[in-house]
Amino acid sequence: MTEESVKPALADAVRPRPGTVSAAQLEARGRKRRQRQDGLVLGAQILIGLSLIAGMYLLNATSGKLFMPRPDDVLAQSIKLWSNGTMLRALGESLTVLTFGFLLSAVTGILGGALLGGFHYVSRVLDPYVNALNSTPGAAFIPLIIVWFGLYTEAKVVLVWNAAFFPILINTAAGIANADRDLVEMGRAFGAKRASLFWNVMLPHALPSILSGLRIGAAISTVGTVIAELTMAQSGLGGLLAQAGNRFQMDKYFAVVIVLMALGTAITAALRYAERRIGAWRVTT
């Protein structure tokens, strides 16, 4: 009885009629148009990249290598740093701090956010404290962290945790507190109790929000890692950066910056991908 209402419409759309363009032809046209657009975008991007490199050469030629290193010197330094293991060791140290700090902030941020979002009383009580701590610039805590945790890996992990914790906490709390009221009522009408509502309705509904909190947190974690490595015992990519900068080795400095750039981009891209995969049901067409 219901098939009829659905099927004919579909059949009509698929069946080719004389004088009209077939679906396959339309698809081919669309594909061609998309390819052309992709080509234009890629072409412009390559052009910008090349002019950046050309600009570096120009600045190098006019203002000297202290002001701007030659791109081929940067390349040579990169190869040297990668082949003698310096870069890999630095990357490893940075990734250790970054990973532990981020995971710690993810776990605590999501748990805390669930508590704040799920229990109105808790969020009302803690609201001024969360706001105050969140509004304080992260760098303000560096001396305290150094006094409490020292200058090495633990202290750096704590700094990263401190930086990434709040965006994750706040996004999680907001996602859970803003659970769709209609869906919650639906769950209640069918007899769902608090725990079931939380796991089956509120948490899945908050998942996209939690994931964007994680994405922001990860981006801040990379910043926090570099700041920790610059301000505490120098280590990792941040340490390398300081080392090169202090000695005005700009080619080395640029080689490190490129690695940081790639690292940040890779982390953000990975989390964006996860966000798209998990939040696929949000697509409404």
Binding site: T2, E3, S5, L183, M186, R188, A189, F190, N200, L207
Partner: protein
């Protein structure tokens, strides 16, 4: 005379710290297997009544019993909402399984029952689709299937067809009548569509607004089954709908008179 399935006695409901009276002195019974409609203009507390019967909220005054007990959300009651209210991250079948899981069915049984119910509403092929891939009418069918899946004694329906297009609405009304004829659960159906109420129900509770209270209870003794013998062209149908409309127009006149009175005596 059979024992009533649902019984409301002098129910009153206040909102906003007692400043707004939503319901006043509402009393009626629903018999097992009866199709009863709550009809009235907006602001007459139709949805509030439904939520009270479901046990989502409790009234300040009077008493409500469902099968002899204070109502609470659970196995005997199921609700169909105006929008389908499906969990968008679950498949169509997953949505029905959610309701079945709340009833404590095991995993294998949930899936097979969900598929059976989807077959009953003609959506078996869409079991693994996500709600956003379905049309509004199809989503509402899933909402109906979810409610039927738990085999409720009472089906509560809150303007379930109001947001659909006229054709889909007509098809779903017929399907609902057929489903009801087969299963004979009691249905409490909220609508503001007079024709729909007369067409579907055996009894109509007409409510007045501000505060919501009963204006009249009308028996609809039209021949069954109505999806075969369409009553909407009969004189009896016309008479009933004229009567109900007269009452509603009278309410509107009273409302205007009250408002005039209020403006004549500014507070």
């Amino acid at each position: 005379m059979t024992e009533p399935l649902i019984s409301l006695k002098n129910v009153g409901k206040l909102f906003g710290d007692g400043q707004v009276r939503a319901l006043q002195d509402v009393s009626f019974d629903v018999r097992p297997g009866e199709f009863i409609s709550l009809v009235g203009p907006s602001g007459c507390g139709k949805t509030t009544l439904l939520r009270i019967i479901n046990g989502l909220i409790s009234p300040e005054e009077g008493s409500v019993t469902v099968m002899g007990k204070k109502p609470e959300p659970g196995p005997d009651l199921a609700m169909v909402f105006q929008s389908a209210r499906l969990l968008p991250w679950r498949t169509v079948s997953g949505n029905i399984e959610f309701a079945l899981a709340l009833r404590g069915h095991d995993k294998v049984e949930r899936r097979s029952r969900a598929l059976a119910l989807l077959g009953a509403v003609g959506l078996r092929d869409f079991a693994d689709a996500f709600p956003h891939q379905l049309s509004g009418g199809m989503q509402q069918r899933v909402g109906l299937a979810r409610a039927l899946a738990v085999e409720p004694k009472v089906l509560l329906m809150d303007e379930p067809f109001a947001a659909l297009d006229a054709m889909t609405r007509e098809v779903l009304r017929k399907e609902l009548l057929q489903m009801w004829a087969r299963r004979r659960m009691a249905i409490v159906f909220v609508t503001h569509d007079i024709d729909e109420a007369v067409y579907l129900s055996q009894r109509i509770v007409l409510l007045r607004p501000r505060p919501g209270r009963i204006d009249e209870v009308v028996d609809v003794a039209l021949p069954e089954p109505r999806w075969e013998i369409d009553p909407r062209t009969t004189a009896q149908f016309a008479e009933l709908r004229t009567h109900l409309w007269d009452r509603i127009h009278a309410m509107a006149r009273d409302g205007e008179a009250l408002e005039e009175l209020a403006s004549a005596f500014p507070m």
